[in-house]
Structure formats: C-alpha cells, structure tokens
Symmetry: C2
Subunit: 253 residues, 2 copies
C-alpha cells in the first residue's frame, strides 16, 4: 500500500509539467505562512493540485480544505530528502507559502481531467431579482420597476422602483434570512439616495425571513420588511408567495 517517495516525486513532477490534475494521499504535516500562519501536525490527508495551480489539502472531516493555495501566481515545486517528500506551493501578491511534508505516500496519480462544462445555478439572488422585476405588484400594488442593479457610490441597489404615490423605493433582496448587515446595507443605500435626490425614499428589505434584532433596527429606521417565499426548480426559480408585513409597529425611540 505504500509508495516509494522517489516514485511519488516522479508522479508529482510529471503531473505538474503536464498540467494534469494531481491527487496524492499520504501521511503529511503542513505549514503555511502568508496572510496568516498555520501548522498542522502529521496525519493522513488528500492533496489535490489542479491544472490552474489550485492547491488543496483535505482532512477526513469537513467540507472546507484545511489548507490551500488559491489558483493564481502559484508556483509549485517538489523536494525529496531521505525520509520526506515536500510539495511546496509559493505564491506572490500576497506572498504566501504552503508546504506539505510527506513522510509516506499511499497514493499518487495524475489525471488529465477533461471538462468543458460549467455549472448552471438557479435560485440565486440575481434570479429572484429578475423574477421580481417582471412583477413588482407581488410586493405591493402599484409598484413599478425602474432599474435593476443600479450602481451607487456605496454599493449596488438590487431593485430601484417607484410606488403608486410616485415615491422612490429601494428594494434589497436576500435569498436567505436577513440579518443586521442586510438592514444596515439597505439603510446605507436609502441614505445615499435620500441625500442625492433630496426627497424621501422608501426602503424595502425582501427576504424569506428576518432576525428579531434586524427587524427592530429596520423599524427604528422606518424601513420595511416584505417576506418573500421562493422555490427553486430546475430551469428557474419561482416565487411561491409574498406576505407583506405591516410596518412601523416598533417604538421609534
């Protein structure tokens, strides 16, 4: 089950020069120094080096790689000493170094990995915005869309609209429970538009749910929350239902 380290080095070097995807499994320790620094004592891990230079170290637990190197400006090299095979990934800007020191290699192989497909995702915030743009009446009667992804100095408005009274409405969309940051984000947009246009602007936070704290802040600032239920299906996302919530119930301290 064990692989000779020099043979492993050959496999690794060949994979790197051929720009193939490399998988190595073995006992290793890991050192990282860059934006932060880390040490990982020895254990059996999976290392993946992709053709674009992405470098991953996976433990047997968790979704996220325990150590890694992002795919750009990443030079990978190997070193063989008596008892260890070191695979090093160096990156500049920011200067970072990742070093995987193998004491034993169980498996090492290169794969060409032909793949021309890219992922199609449905149910993103952008999808929801597209849907809502087609029927803002779902949120409120008389609400008409003006602009999607309207650029502001301090961010981007998801949907800019006008209500039945001709008042400007900023809609901030969230695909999941809105928290404090969503509220401050909306507040920031409303403030900037208020100040630029010089007239009262409404702000509506549109999300499947909102945390209690976020709701309190929202109401304190005179913003509104509209509950949005959506459902993802395979060729698109659908809006299941909208439940307006009365505003201004909180005490304006």
């Amino acid at each position: 089950m064990l692989m000779d380290l020099s043979q492993a080095k050959r496999v690794v070097d060949d994979a790197l020069s051929a720009c193939h995807t490399l998988i190595v499994v073995g006992d290793c320790s890991v050192r990282y120094h860059g934006r932060a620094a880390s040490k990982l004592a020895s254990g059996e891990r999976i290392i993946i080096v992709k053709s674009d230079g992405s470098f991953l170290v996976h433990q047997n637990k968790g979704m996220a790689a325990i150590n890694y190197q992002p795919p750009k400006n990443n030079r990978i090299s190997t070193e063989l000493s008596t008892n260890t095979l070191i695979i090093k990934a160096m990156r500049r800007s920011p200067k970072e170094i990742l070093e995987v020191i193998f004491t034993s290699v169980l498996f090492a192989q290169a794969f060409p990995m032909r793949d021309d497909s890219s992922l199609k995702v449905f149910g993103t915030e952008k999808n929801l915005a597209d849907l809502l743009m087609q029927d803002l009446e779902l949120i409120e009667p008389g609400l008409r869309p003006l602009k999607q992804e309207s650029p502001l100095q301090k961010g981007m408005i998801d949907i800019f609209a006008r209500d039945r009274d001709g008042k400007n409405v900023i809609i901030e969309l969230k695909r999941r429970t809105a928290g404090l940051s969503s509220v401050t984000q909306l507040k920031r947009y409303v403030d900037e538009v208020d100040q630029r246009i010089g007239q009262e602007t409404r702000g509506i936070l549109c999300a499947p749910s909102i945390t209690p704290n976020a709701l309190k802040s929202l109401e304190k600032w005179g913003l509104e929350f509209v509950r949005l239920d959506f459902e993802v299906s395979n060729p698109s996302a659908k809006i299941k239902g909208l439940q307006p919530k009365q505003k201004g119930m909180g005490e304006f301290l």
Copy 2:
C-alpha cells in the same frame, strides 16, 4: 484505465459502510436541488466522500468545490444501472439532494485516513485582540482595556476600553482592509452603548487599511481609524506598528 462500473460500485459501497474516505475520478454529470438548484453537464471530475458525510465534487479548476453536500444529516447511496453509476447524497434540514451520475469511472478507492491533528492558526482577529489587550497604549496613550469580546444585544465588541479622559472606547478590529460593513458594524455598537450608558462613546476602527468610502462614512459619524500593521510568525502574531490617523478631517455634511 477504465474501471468496471459494478466494480466501482462495490468499492464505493464498501468505503461508505466502513466509513472510510472515498475518492472517485470519472466522467459524470451532476444535479443538485436544495437551497438552490444546479446542473452540471458531463465532464471528468474528482469526487470525495469523507467519513463525516462531507461530499465534494471538484472540477479541474478553482479552489471551491463545484458541487457539494455539507457534513451532517447526509445519507449517501449508490445506484447501478446499465450504463451509469449514480452516487446520491441526501440531506434533510434543509432538504437537499446531490446526485452524481457517472458514465465512466477512471479511479475509485477508499482510504482509512487516520488523522487526529487539528490546525493551529496564528494571525486571526482573536490573536490580534489578545495582543492589543496587553498593550492598548499602542493605539493611544492612556488607553486602558476593560473587556474583550464584550457581548452586546446586537453583536460583540472586540475590545471595550476607557481613554485617559475616562471616556468609553469601543475598538473594532479587522485583520484586513476595513470596508463599509466594518464601519457600520462599529457604528451599531457605538450607538447601542451610547444609548445604554447614556454618555458619549468613542469608536475606533483598527485595521491594516481602510477603503476610501469606508473612511468617509467613518468620519461622517465621528468615528476614528487607527492603522494597525501586524506580522504573523509561526508561534504567534506580532504587531508591527501602529499609525494613528487624525480624525475629523472630513467635512461633516
């Protein structure tokens, strides 16, 4: 180079029942339906199934898995039909299903993956807070620490302190460039403390740098920025230097 699909299924099933870590490489398409939905047409990918149920699909590019299933409440099953081997990962709460349909398998193997080590990271925000707590004079003469990680209704204050004039000071720490959200976060804390204590509270944003927009907002609200340079070394993080920046230079509109 090709592997019989029924043989691959055996390897996969054995790995799952033994709770080993599984690696499969082959030509597959992927379907996902859950919090969002996605489709990925056929191509060669690496699939990793970890002992805790983490399920990863990696293309030959990029650091992040293109499709995945998080490590909990995740039931994995296999199906063999005439031309395909399907590996399914089903999860409840939220209900999500990930389906990988292999038309050919180049490699499939289980690894026991003994690993008892956990990552030690240095240079985290918590590290910096610990360091600063030991010498707040670095930020400003006479500044004395009161409490670290002081819980607030709307979040957690990194460092709560008192300045030479006896005024309360809230310090928000960032390990990288502070943006608008960092400023609104600090503002939120200062507002809450102002309101609860009923006396003027200073807010200091401490980060290696700050974006222009964030600085403008900061100054508009009368908050302060202190530049913090730190350096990570292997057994700890060090503070390299601190450069106070004069406040209140912006026009208070």
